[in-house]
Amino acid sequence: METALADNATPPVFYQTDDEHAHAGGSTLLGFWIYLMSDALIFATLFATFGVLNSSFAGGPTPHDIFDLKLVAFNTAVLLVSALTCGLAMISMQAGKLRLLQIWLAVTALLGIVFVSVELNEFHHLIVDGATPQRSAYLSAFFTLVGTHGLHVTFGVIWIGVMLVQLAQRGLHAENCRRLMCLSMFWHFLDVIWIGVFTFVYLLGTLS
């Protein structure tokens, strides 16, 4: 008890010599990167599930019956161009050109909306034709994997919308630049995941 009192009497000594805010911007980007890596593991499990159930058609439709590669090629092109426009937005941000940044972000969002619309249209046709997630394990895995990616793109579009409002109201300050860099990483990450989706789901599905 006495020692405790004695300890209370002396001021506490902190051995933290580094300034916590020294790496504020950098650590946000690294933290966001680690989030993206954990997101990649979600997709890894979905890809693994899809790979295991790849031929569990249960007498239902096979990839040959349901996939339209022209549509997938179009959507792939849309997403790839949106990756370029996202990069152009980052270059505009770097140059401090607010108007140009807003235009490229808007173009990126529009391409994202086109991508999600085409995908939803594809899903709609599949479901109308009876190729629902309930039809076979293969289709369950297909809708889960492709749908999760589509959901990510949808949230990316919402994020771009939020950033456009932020930029219109507050301009190009340091915090917005940091948020935009995270957004850009998120968008490019989704394009990388899509490479896996169009290769393993669509191309290999129709090749085998």
Binding site: H21, K70, L204
Partner: protein, 128 residues
């Protein structure tokens, strides 16, 4: 005060290290990615390669290569970014991804091989 300025300078340096968006890098990355997308689609749509296994292997090889190209050109992963931690996290994720996907396919292939004939209506372990 001087300490704070030093910290700010350091943060600024770090900031400069993080941003290196270059138009040329993006355009090159885009062009290479477009070619690496077009060739697999052509293989799958025009069927120029008769052997399905060879065709599938080439398509997968292009996918892996394009993932690496986009990671470098668009996501700016290199040994210097964030003191190397970006690359470390990336490689670690790649290892986990290979264990999860490869392990699942391997185990389920063995499971399918050990099933009684007729217990599944699928070709065993076709994987991807």
């Amino acid at each position: 005060m001087s300490n704070e300025t030093a910290a700010h300078d350091h943060a600024h340096d770090e900031h400069e290290e993080v941003i290196h968006f270059k138009l040329g890098g993006y355009l090159t990355g885009f062009a290479v990615a477009a070619i690496m997308t077009a060739i697999p689609f052509w293989i799958a749509m025009a069927h120029p390669i008769g052997n399905a296994v060879v065709a599938a292997s080439i398509v997968v090889a292009f996918a892996v290569a394009q993932i690496l190209v986009q990671t470098v050109a668009f996501l700016h992963v290199n040994a210097r970014a964030q003191g190397g931690w970006t690359l470390v996290a990336y490689v670690f994720t790649a290892v986990l991804l290979l264990i999860i996907v490869g392990g699942s396919l391997w185990i389920m292939h063995h499971l399918a091989s050990n099933m009684m004939p007729g217990a599944t209506n699928d070709a065993p372990g076709r994987g991807f």
